[in-house]
Symmetry: C2
Subunit: 207 residues, 2 copies
DNA sequence: AAACTAACATACAGCCTTGTTTGTATGTTG
DNA sequence: CAACATACAAACAAGGCTGTATGTTAGTTT
C-alpha cells in the first residue's frame, strides 16, 4: 500500500518514537526489531525499509536530538573581552535545563549510556568520542583565554579546569539518568556549576 | 572426568577469567556462553555447572573484586579529632590507584558500566545502587563532621560536597574506562582531588 | 570394593532473531 | 493512462543461543 511521502515520513517518526520507548524500557540489546515494530504498529518490513538495521536505528535516534548551537557559543567566546566564565556557566546551565525538560533527550541519552558501545554500535560510540574531543578542545581554549585575562585562579590550568568541568557534568548526568533521577538535576546542577566556577575564579594560592 | 575439589575451583577461576576477557571484548550482551566456554577451554556444561546463567556469571565477576575496607575507613572517620578531609582525600587517591594498577578491576568495571542494567542484570544494578547509597550517606556524614569542626567552607553543605565528590570521581572513572584510558587516571585524579579538597577547605564567602 | 556423587562433556529441543525476498497496492511521473 | 517507483506487509531461510537432560568418568565414602 504505497503511501504519500508525508505519510511515509510519519511512519518513520512513529518507528523512531517506538524505538525510543522500547529501547529505553527493555534495553537496546534485548529488544528485538519485532518489539519495535509492534510498538510502532507496523511490521518489521517497514523498519527495514526506513533503517538499515538496529545500529542504524539507534544512530538515527541519536541524530534526532537537536544539538546546542556550538558555533554561536564559539562566537560568543571569541569576543575580545568576553566573560568566559559567565558564558560557560550559562551554557552548562542551559544544557542541564534542556536535559531536565526534554524527556526524549533523557530517554535517548539513557539508551546511549546503557548501550553496549563495543561491536555493532562502535560507530556511534566513536562519534560521541569525536564530539567529546571537540568539546574538550573548545573548553580548554576558553579556559586558556580566561587565564590570559588573569581571571583563572593560579591553582588551575586550562586543561585541569576543563577536565573537572567535564567530569562533574558527566558524573552528574549519568548519575541522574541511570540512577532513577532521584534529585532535581536542574537545581543541583546549577548549584554545582555555581560552586565550581566560583572556585575557578577565586584567588587561592597555587598547588 | 571427575576432578578433585581443587581442580574444580581452578576451572571455576578459569571460567571467570575467560568471562572477564570475552565480556570485556565483545560486550556482555553479544557474547555467548559458548564464547566464554571456548576461551576457558571447557564446554558450556562446565559453565552451567558452576554458574546458574549469564547474569550469575556477571554477578560472580563483580563479587570477585576485593572491596576496600569500609569499616576501617569508618572507624578512622569516627575518631574524635579526625582530619576528615585528609582521610577522604587519601581514600579517594587509594581507590584511583587501585583502579589504575588492577587490570582485572578495570575490565570488570568496564563490563559493568557498559552492561545493560535493565532486564536480567537488574539485580546487579540494584546492588550497585545500594552500595552507592551507603557511600553517599557515609560521605555526607563525614562532611557534616568536618562542618561541625568548622573546617568546611561556608559555601558548601555536607550534601553538596558529597555529591560533588561523587560526581567528579564517577565522571573521572567512566571517562577513563570507557574512553580508551587516554590519560593517567592516578595522576590527574590525584590532582583533581587535591583541588577539590582545597576548595572544600578554603574560606570563600557563602553562596 | 561397591555405592555414591561431584564435575564435567555431549546431545537435544525449541525458541527467537535477523536479514532477505517476494508480493502488492498505491502514488507519481512522462 | 501506462510505466515505474515507493512504501510497505508477509513469508522464508538459516542460524545461533539458551537451558536442560542425559551420559560418562573419576574421586569419595563406607
Amino acid at each position: 500500500m504505497r503511501r504519500t511521502k508525508a505519510e511515509a515520513e510519519e511512519t518513520r517518526q512513529q518507528i523512531l518514537l517506538a524505538a525510543e520507548k522500547v529501547f529505553y524500557e527493555k534495553g537496546v540489546a534485548h529488544a528485538s526489531m519485532a518489539d519495535v515494530a509492534r510498538a510502532a504498529g507496523v511490521t518489521r518490513g517497514a523498519i527495514y525499509w526506513h533503517f538499515a538495521n538496529r545500529a542504524d536505528l539507534v544512530l538515527e535516534l541519536y541524530n534526532s536530538l537537536p544539538m546546542p548551537q556550538e558555533e554561536l557559543i564559539a562566537r560568543e567566546l571569541e569576543a575580545e573581552n568576553a566573560d568566559v566564565f559567565a558564558v560557560l556557566e550559562r551554557v552548562g546551565r542551559e544544557w542541564l535545563e534542556l536535559l531536565a525538560t526534554d524527556e526524549h533527550r533523557q530517554r535517548i541519552l539513557s539508551i546511549l549510556l546503557r548501550c553496549d558501545t563495543s561491536g555493532e554500535f562502535a560507530a556511534i560510540s566513536e562519534r560521541q568520542n569525536d564530539i567529546n574531543d571537540e568539546h574538550m578542545q573548545a573548553l580548554e581554549a576558553a579556559f586558556a583565554k580566561a587565564q590570559g585575562q588573569g581571571k583563572l585562579c593560579a591553582c588551575w590550568t586550562p586543561r585541569s579546569a576543563a577536565s573537572m568541568l567535564r567530569w562533574v557534568i558527566k558524573g552528574l548526568c549519568s548519575e541522574w539518568l541511570l540512577f532513577g533521577r532521584r534529585f532535581d538535576i536542574a537545581i543541583e546542577g546549577k548549584e554545582a556549576l555555581r560552586r565550581l566556577f566560583r572556585t575557578y575564579a577565586s584567588h587561592v594560592p597555587s598547588l
